[in-house]
Symmetry: C2
Subunit: 251 residues, 2 copies
């Protein structure tokens, strides 16, 4: 069982939004067992999910679903089962990691606007008018695009880019991340605590950040806290060292 302060944080993260267990599992494997050959033993996975207050039956159902979908593969060695990402899941997980784990300084600071001859949303861009897309200046636009740049962004556009429900979710996440930063200042985290906290941080962060493209801070309203959250996530993941899975078995 995790120590009390971590248990409190588990509740705070669970309170952010209805957590789907299969999606939580994707985050657990993505953070703790993404590298080739990395596996999570059944008992370790049970310990982590248990500390996250996920019911054993819900964990079983979610694992079954991910196996059926070809995301997780399992094998039995002796008395225990070992679970790992499928090759496709590893590829997808790795691709998402670039955006999830990127530190603030790796984020774009400039933007471009492109006008296309016909409607076709290019990857990484967001539509701001028919056939007109906005994106980070680091993106490669389609060859036939009219390429445009600018300096100032008018208020109406910042408002349009600031998606209201996401804005509120970032604000809520920002509060829990701040609380996590305060908590771990004085807490003594064992490997299981570290696994649980890392996975909850990554999980709740990725659910928001992967819902939209990466854009510079200046394009949003002042109360859009994505960039504040990224700074906290980067700080937290640096301070909460990723545990060796064997340490959790031992515990």
């Amino acid at each position: 069982m995790p120590s009390d302060p971590v248990s409190t944080l588990v509740d705070r993260y669970a309170g952010l939004r209805d957590q789907r267990v299969w999606s939580l599992l994707v985050s657990v494997f993505g953070d703790l067992a993404q590298s080739e050959g990395s596996e999570i033993d059944g008992p370790v996975l049970s310990a982590i999910l248990g500390a996250m207050k996920v019911k054993p039956e819900a964990a079983r159902v979610a694992l079954h679903r991910l196996r059926k979908d070809g995301w997780i593969q399992s094998r039995r060695t002796g008395r225990i089962r070992r679970h790992s990402l499928s090759p496709r899941a590893r590829r997808d997980s790795l691709a998402a990691s670039r955006r999830i784990y990127a530190p603030p300084e790796a984020m774009p600071t400039n933007w471009q606007v492109i006008v296309l001859e016909d409607e076709a949303l290019p990857t990484g861009f967001v539509r701001i008018a028919d056939r007109v897309y906005l994106g980070a200046d680091t993106l490669k636009p389609p060859e036939t695009a009219l390429l445009l740049g600018g300096a100032q962004v008018p208020t109406w556009l910042r408002s349009a880019l600031t998606i209201e429900p996401l804005k509120q979710q970032y604000q809520a996440l920002n509060r829990v991340l701040a609380e996590t930063q305060n908590t771990i200042e004085c807490a003594d985290l064992d490997p299981l605590d570290r696994a649980v906290l890392r996975c909850l941080i990554v999980h709740n962060w990725r659910r928001l950040v992967l819902k939209h493209v990466d854009l510079p801070r200046d394009l949003y309203s002042d109360d859009w806290l994505e960039h504040d959250c990224r700074a906290r996530v980067t700080d937290l993941l640096a301070r909460i060292e990723r545990p060796d899975l064997s340490e959790i078995t031992a515990a």
Copy 2:
């Protein structure tokens, strides 16, 4: 009667397109009698229109129409009538002159693209997508616009900006302007010839150039000859001196 080479040019300009006499009269007053207090005597106007091969009855009808519309005002002094622009017509004519008579070097060489929050074509801009407008960089955009700039213009946009019927009319005008340049090299032009030629040049040029906004050359297809025409018009109007109207009375 004009000398033979001018008569040939009169036919060539008349061949460019169905010429409305009232519109031709607007050009005549705009070029020869735009300044405050400037009038054209009835016999002088008749001589000019006659040299343009406009039938007297058509001239009378057109003059009547322009008077009824409040564009021309006429007064009788002694045995002759004197015609002049109304104050409103003078204002409108002066405003159009800035665009008609501007030399090539006064034309914009750079452009801007603006994205507006809602649909409302701003003056001087051309719409390239919903809520997206292109214009010379010398234009003042609406305050809330997203201001954008760029360097290269893709082929599809140049094609879209190159209005096909206007393109062909510029090509036809360009041929007649070139012929005019050749003709006046060796012709001896009397004041009436100069009045006729100037008015026909201005008339046929303004009918095209006032149909669209001023944009840099680079935004059009290579076969868009507006800018070539402007260079020829500027050259011709500099070489064909504006006649003193009293010289025509005398002739």
